[in-house]
């Protein structure tokens, strides 16, 4: 039964590894989505008997807000002709 709890941890670890190792803006956003999905999965597999549906909806709201934020940032980056490699962000002047 411990595997039901360990698997969201595996997914969350993959997300953390991707967030730490990637330098592409969109891929980093993808990794945060994977981490949020792992959190939702953990709440469903373990915490639903406590009736934490509101927590689940909060996680989904954060994931949706992140997508909207990504669109806004993408529009800003593309308008200023910037690269999505975050290592080059310090080269730009705002």
């Amino acid at each position: 039964m411990i595997y039901y709890m360990l698997f969201p941890f595996v997914l969350f670890s993959i997300g953390i590894g991707g967030l730490a190792a990637s330098r592409h803006f969109l891929v980093m956003v993808f990794s945060v989505e994977i981490m949020l999905s792992a959190a939702a999965l953990l709440s469903v597999s373990m915490l639903m008997p406590v009736n934490l549906a509101l927590l689940l909806f909060a996680i989904w709201a954060i994931a949706t807000t992140e997508a909207i934020t990504a669109i806004v940032l993408y529009r800003y980056i593309s308008r200023n002709d910037m690269d999505l490699d975050i290592r080059r962000l310090s080269e730009y002047k705002y």
Binding site: V10, S22, R23, H24, A40, S45
Partner: protein, 152 residues
């Protein structure tokens, strides 16, 4: 039950890793869509079909937005930014840290991990097939939009 869980879990982990190992940004976002679909299957494995449908609905919007961003960017910024070795090291270290934190606590005892009950009223249960139909229609529409954009 456990065999189905194991199969779905392996597929989901592979989809999550494919997000980073894909050579093109478009392939990466398609792997992310696959990850969300398999995550929905995992919700069904845990006997939560309504939450699975809601998750599918919510992620349709996110994945569609990411697909459009990736189509706009895949020719301009190729994916050469991920260091796979450091990603593996960070993942293993994070998993060991999580396991170390929870291995000594009472949360991991089998008695405290009951698989969720269906918890769904009969009125909502009737509408679930329609939710899935609409969600997969939206997924199909966004993927078809990608194909059309690629042709042009």
């Amino acid at each position: 039950m456990f065999v189905i869980f194991a199969i779905v879990a392996i597929l989901e982990a592979i989809a999550a890793i494919l997000v980073y190992t894909s050579k093109k940004l478009l392939h990466s976002v398609v792997a992310l869509a696959l990850f969300f679909i398999i995550n929905t299957l995992m919700f069904i494995v845990f006997y939560q079909p309504l939450f699975a449908a809601i998750q599918l609905f919510i992620m349709v919007g996110g994945v569609s937005a990411y697909i459009f961003l990736s189509v706009g960017q895949h020719m301009q910024s190729p994916l050469k930014h991920t260091n796979y070795l450091s990603m593996a090291v960070f993942s293993v270290l994070a998993f060991i840290a999580f396991f170390f934190l929870f291995s000594g606590s009472g949360i991991t005892s089998p008695a405290s991990i009951p698989i969720s009950q269906p918890g769904l009223s009969s009125d909502l249960a009737i509408a679930i097939p329609f939710f899935y139909e609409m969600a997969f229609l939206l997924f199909g529409t966004s993927l078809a939009a990608v194909v059309l954009l690629m042709i042009k």
